[in-house]
C-alpha cells in the first residue's frame, strides 16, 4: 500500500485553487517553471494521516484543448503523470462555465473529487447547489468548501485518501453528449480501444473528432487509417449539425453543463452588497475609471518605490559601513578586493530584491486576487493593443519605470506564454529609475529638460515599434482579450504572503549566483589591468561608430552591474562633473551616450529576472539583441544628429 499520494489541483482561473494549495502545503512548497516553459509550476507536500501527499497546482484554464500552453501542460500532466486524485476546484457562483471544464476533466479518466468552492459567495448571490444531486449526475464526489476560511478542506483531504485507497475509477462516469455525436464517439472508441494509446479512449475519440493535432499525431503513429475514419465521422456530424464538428461538440458540452447547472441550482434573490456593486461600476466607469486607476497605480508605484527606496538606503548604509570594517580586517589586497566585490554583488542583490520585490509581490497579488487587474486590462486594452499586448500588460510596463526587475516578474499576470515573452522583452526597454538618473543628470542637466523629455518620447516610440515587430514576428495566436471579469473580493492575505515568500526565495536562487559572478568578473578585469585593452578593443564601436570618447567604454562595461553608477563613473574617469568640459563629449555625444545606455543591456539583476521568467535561451537572445540594437541605434542617432544639428 503506497503511502504517497499524488494529487493535482485543476480548474478555471480565479476559483481559489491557489488558496487551497497554500492552505494545504503551508511552508512546504517549491515554486519553479514547467521545463522549458514560462508557466509557473507550484508543487508542495502535505503530511496527513500518515500519508505523504504531493500536491501540484496546475495552471488555471477553461478548457482542455491544446490551444494554449497552459492547457497542454495540464492535459499532458494528467495523462502522463497519472495523479492518484485530481481535485477539480470549481466556483459555485459560476457553476455552468466551470462544469464545462469538469466534463472534459472527467473524460481524462483519473479519479476525481470536486471542491465546490466559494459556496458562501454563491449563497450571497442567491445560488444554492444541491450537492447530492451534483454528485449523482457527475458520478464524482463533491465537497463544498470555503477555501479562504479553511472550511471543507479537511473533508476534502479525507476524501482524497479514501479515493486514493479505493482507487475509484471515474472512467465510465462521463456525461453523454447528444445522440448523433455520442453514437459516433462510441464507434471511434471501439476502434481506439486496444490501440495502446496513452489517452483514455473516449477522450481520444472526442479529440480526434475535434481535429486535435496532438492526439492525431499520437494516433497516426499507431494506426493512420483511424484518422481518416475520424475525419469521415466528423464530416457526418458537420452535415447533421450544420456547423463544424469541433464547434458542435463545444456547444453540446455547454448544453450539458447548462442542464446540469439548472438541475442542481436553486436561485433565490441575491443579497449582493450595494457597496461592492458601486465600487465595480465606478472602477470601470468610462469617465471615473481612469482617474481612479491612475491614482491607484500611482499609489502602488509610490508605495513600492518609496518603501523600497527607504529600506534599500538603510541596507546600503549598513553594508557600506561594513566595507570599512572589512577593509581594515583584510588589509585590502587583490584577494580582499575580489571578496569585497563578490560581497558588493550580494549587497546589490539584497538591496534590490528585498526592499522592492517584497512590496511589489504583495501589491501585485493583492491587485490580482481582488480582481482589480481585470479592470485595468479592461480600461487599458485599447492602448496596449497598439503594441501587440492586451490591457493587463500595462501594469508591468508601468512598473518598469521604477525598476525592470519587478516589471519582468510582473509579466506573470499575463495569460499566455507568448504574451509574457513579448511583455518581458518590452519592459526591459523601459527606462527604469537608474536610467532616469542617467537621462536627467546628463541630458536633462546639461542640455535642458525638453531634451530629456524628447528622449523619453523617443524611447516610447521605440517601445511601440519593437513591440509591434515582436508581436508580428513571434509565432502563436494573435493577442486578443478574452477574460473573465470576476467579482471583487477580499484578497486572502495569508495566501498572498506565502506566494510572495516562495517567489522571492526562487528569485534569490537564480539571481544571486549570477550577480556575484558578474561582480567578480568585472572586478577581475580591473585587477588584471584589462580595462585599458578592453576599452581599446571596444574603440571601433565606441569611437568610430558611436563617436564617443574611448574611455566611455569602461562605463558601458560597469553599467551592466548597476546603471546608476555610470554617471558617477564618468565623472571619476574624466575627473570632472561638468561633462561638457570633456573633450569630444559635446551635446550630440551626450545624447548618443544616453540613448545607448538606455537600451544597450538590461542590468545583471534584470537578466536574472529574465532568466527566471522566460528561461535562459530567451533571456540570452533578448540581451544580445539589445546590445546590438542599442549600438546600431546609437550610431544612427549620432549620424542623424550630426546632419541636422551640424
Amino acid at each position: 500500500m503506497a503511502k504517497t499520494i499524488k494529487v493535482a489541483l485543476a480548474g478555471n482561473a480565479n476559483v481559489g485553487k491557489s488558496v487551497i494549495f497554500n492552505y494545504l502545503t503551508g511552508l512546504h512548497q517549491h515554486i519553479g517553471n514547467w521545463p522549458g516553459k514560462t508557466v509557473e509550476k507550484a508543487e508542495g507536500t502535505l503530511h496527513f494521516r500518515g500519508y505523504t501527499i504531493d500536491i501540484i497546482d496546475l495552471p488555471g484554464i477553461y478548457s482542455l484543448s491544446a490551444y494554449s500552453i497552459e492547457e497542454q501542460i495540464t492535459r499532458n500532466y494528467i495523462v502522463m503523470e497519472k495523479p492518484d486524485v485530481v481535485i477539480n476546484v470549481i466556483d459555485a457562483s459560476t457553476l455552468e462555465r466551470n462544469l464545462y471544464f469538469t466534463l472534459q476533466l472527467i473524460e481524462l479518466g483519473r479519479p476525481m473529487i470536486i471542491a465546490l468552492n466559494q459556496v458562501d459567495q454563491a449563497a450571497k448571490k442567491g445560488i444554492h447547489i444541491d450537492i447530492k444531486k451534483l454528485e449523482e449526475i457527475l458520478g464524482v464526489p463533491v465537497i463544498p468548501t470555503i477555501a479562504i476560511k479553511g472550511v471543507g478542506i479537511y473533508q476534502l483531504m479525507e476524501k482524497v485518501i479514501e479515493i486514493a485507497r479505493k482507487g475509484i475509477n471515474t472512467q465510465n462516469n462521463y456525461v453523454k453528449l447528444g445522440r448523433e455525436i455520442e453514437e459516433r464517439i462510441e464507434r471511434l472508441v471501439k476502434l481506439i480501444e486496444g490501440l495502446g494509446l496513452r489517452y483514455p479512449a473516449r477522450y481520444a475519440a472526442i479529440k480526434l473528432l475535434e481535429g486535435d493535432e496532438e492526439v492525431e499525431n499520437e494516433v497516426n503513429k499507431l494506426n493512420p487509417a483511424l484518422i481518416m475514419v475520424a475525419r469521415q465521422l466528423a464530416k457526418e456530424i458537420e452535415s447533421i449539425e450544420g456547423r463544424p464538428c469541433g464547434e458542435a461538440i463545444i456547444a453540446e458540452r455547454y448544453e450539458k453543463a447548462c442542464n446540469i447547472a439548472r438541475e442542481v441550482e436553486s436561485i433565490t434573490s441575491p443579497a449582493r452588497t450595494k457597496l461592492i456593486e458601486k465600487l465595480d461600476e465606478l472602477t470601470i466607469h468610462k469617465l471615473w475609471g481612469y482617474p481612479i486607476m491612475i491614482s491607484l497605480l500611482l499609489i502602488m508605484f509610490y508605495t513600492i518605490f518609496t518603501v523600497g527606496g527607504y529600506i534599500s538606503d538603510l541596507l546600503n548604509a549598513l553594508f557600506y559601513n561594513g566595507q570599512t570594517l572589512f577593509n581594515s580586517i583584510s588589509r585590502a589586497g587583490p584577494i580582499g578586493e575580489l571578496f569585497w566585490s563578490a560581497a558588493e554583488g550580494i549587497i546589490a542583490g539584497i538591496t534590490v530584491v528585498f526592499p522592492y520585490l517584497v512590496p511589489l509581490y504583495i501589491v501585485l497579488y493583492l491587485l490580482e486576487d481582488s480582481g482589480y487587474i481585470s479592470r485595468v486590462a479592461f480600461l487599458m486594452d485599447s492602448l496596449m493593443h497598439r503594441m501587440g499586448l492586451h490591457g493587463k500588460a500595462f501594469i508591468p510596463l508601468l512598473l518598469g519605470y521604477g525598476c525592470n526587475v519587478p516589471a519582468c516578474i510582473g509579466c506573470r499576470i499575463l495569460e499566455t506564454q507568448r504574451e509574457r515573452t513579448i511583455a518581458t522583452f518590452i519592459v526591459t526597454l523601459v527606462p527604469c529609475a537608474a536610467r532616469t538618473i542617467i537621462i536627467l543628470s546628463l541630458v536633462g542637466k546639461f542640455l535642458g529638460i525638453e531634451y530629456a523629455l524628447a528622449i523619453y518620447i523617443f524611447n516610447l516610440a521605440i517601445i511601440f515599434l519593437l513591440g509591434r515587430i515582436a508581436f508580428k514576428a513571434l509565432p502563436g495566436e494573435p493577442t486578443a482579450l478574452i477574460m473573465e471579469m470576476h467579482e471583487y473580493r477580499m484578497p486572502h492575505v495569508k495566501t498572498v504572503l506565502k506566494q510572495t515568500w516562495f517567489r522571492i526565495f526562487e528569485f534569490i536562487k537564480i539571481a544571486f549566483p549570477l550577480i556575484v559572478l558578474g561582480s567578480v568578473a568585472i572586478k577581475m578585469i580591473e585587477l588584471f589591468g584589462l580595462t585599458g585593452p578592453i576599452v581599446a578593443a571596444l574603440s571601433p564601436i565606441t569611437v568610430s561608430w558611436l563617436g564617443l570618447p574611448m574611455m566611455t567604454g569602461i562605463t558601458l562595461i560597469f553599467g551592466i552591474l548597476r546603471k546608476e553608477l555610470m554617471v558617477i563613473l564618468l565623472s571619476t574617469i574624466f575627473g570632472t562633473s561638468n561633462f561638457l568640459d570633456i573633450q569630444g563629449f559635446g551635446p550630440i555625444n551626450m545624447i548618443v551616450f544616453t540613448v545607448v545606455a538606455m537600451f544597450y543591456i538590461p542590468c545583471i539583476s534584470t537578466i536574472a529576472a529574465l532568466i527566471k521568467e522566460i528561461g535562459w535561451k530567451k533571456a540570452f537572445l533578448i540581451t544580445i539583441f539589445e546590445i546590438f540594437f542599442a549600438i546600431l541605434l546609437g550610431g544612427i542617432v549620432y549620424r542623424f544628429l550630426r546632419i541636422i544639428l551640424g
Binding site: S63, S65, Y67, E96, G246, I250, D381, L481, I482, E484
Partner: protein, 97 residues
C-alpha cells in the same frame, strides 16, 4: 416606417447598447492568420456558443473591449473579437437609431 412591429435583427456584438440582450447566432472565424478558427474556438469555450443568451454590460472607451454577461459569468472580449460575434436582437424600428 410601415413596419413598426418588433423585428429580429442580426448585428455584431459591438452594436449592442449597454444593457441590451440578444442571442448569439454565429461566430465568424478570423481569417488570414494562422489556423484561423482559434479565436472562434476560444470564444465558444468561454461559453459564448451559438444559441446562448448574451447581455452587454458595458464597454471601455477609446474603442476598447466589451463586457458581457453570459451563462451567469462576466466575460470581457476585445473589440476585434466582439465584431465577429453575431447576435440576434429584437428591436422595434422606431428605437433603432
Amino acid at each position: 416606417m410601415n413596419n413598426s412591429d418588433e423585428n429580429k435583427k442580426r448585428v455584431s456584438l459591438t452594436e449592442l447598447r449597454a444593457g441590451e440582450s440578444g442571442t448569439v447566432v454565429a461566430i465568424i472565424p478570423s481569417h488570414g492568420r494562422g489556423r484561423g478558427c482559434g479565436h472562434a474556438r476560444r470564444i465558444m469555450e468561454m461559453g459564448i456558443t451559438p444559441g446562448t443568451r448574451i447581455t452587454v454590460i458595458g464597454s471601455a472607451p477609446f474603442h476598447g473591449p466589451i463586457e458581457v454577461l453570459v451563462r451567469g459569468s462576466r466575460i470581457v472580449v476585445g473589440r476585434g473579437i466582439a465584431e465577429r460575434i453575431i447576435v440576434e436582437v429584437y428591436r422595434s424600428n422606431g428605437k433603432d437609431d
